[in-house]
Amino acid sequence: MENYDGEPPNQEELTEWADEYGETFPVLSDVDQEVALRFARREQLSLPSHSLLAPNAVVLVADGEVESADIEAALP
């Protein structure tokens, strides 16, 4: 995630965003899109991007469409 200036958000901005959307999961500052680019196709960022990992961080979907069946398959 990056802020309005294209910079990594600070903690205050992360907290505001999490509160605004009632987010209870980790909201993380992805400096330089390091993690987003790991899963991006041909190193092109898509927003929003969706990736799904099974337990032990096994990649099931990398920057693609996540279906309900994918999530069910990923659950331990």
Partner: protein
């Protein structure tokens, strides 16, 4: 003759116990480093939820509840699968559980079917969150921007 074997054994066991523990400091297996007559294996001098004996094994201070000074008591850290002697490693303020398998995850790559590399990113509480902390469950990553 009525069989009384079971009560008899119990009585002998009690006698043997008292005989062995009359003088605790003389027992080969009894360790009482703070000489309070309570065995270290059950004593928790700092009240952090870990026995002195466990603290010795972990390398934490049995007289300080928060050995690494990170704000989390040693017992909370062990329960949360973090280190009580590493101030940078502690349970997440957000309450997300850390899997005890986190150190066993071996990355192979970030393509489908591979084991993703770990990351360390700051969360909304200021903690550094690691992907491999969630090794015991599925993870759904959503990339977004403010603009």
């Amino acid at each position: 003759m009525k069989r009384t074997k079971r009560p008899f054994v119990l009585v002998v066991a009690s006698v043997a116990f008292w005989g062995a523990c009359t003088d605790k400091t003389q027992s080969d297996s009894f360790v009482d480093s703070d000489t309070d007559t309570d065995a270290d294996v059950t004593t928790d001098d700092d009240g952090d939820g870990l026995s002195n004996s466990d603290e010795e094994s972990l390398g934490s201070d049995p007289n300080v509840a928060d050995s690494d000074g990170d704000g989390w008591d040693d017992g909370e850290e062990v329960d949360g699968n973090t280190s009580p002697v590493d101030a940078e490693d502690h349970p997440y303020t957000g309450g997300w559980a850390i899997g005890d398998c986190r150190d066993a995850v071996t990355s192979t790559g970030n393509e489908v079917g591979e084991t993703a590399e770990d990351f360390a990113l700051q969360d909304q509480f200021g903690d550094t969150v690691h992907l491999h902390s969630f090794c015991d469950r599925a993870v759904y990553l959503v990339g977004a921007a403010f603009w």
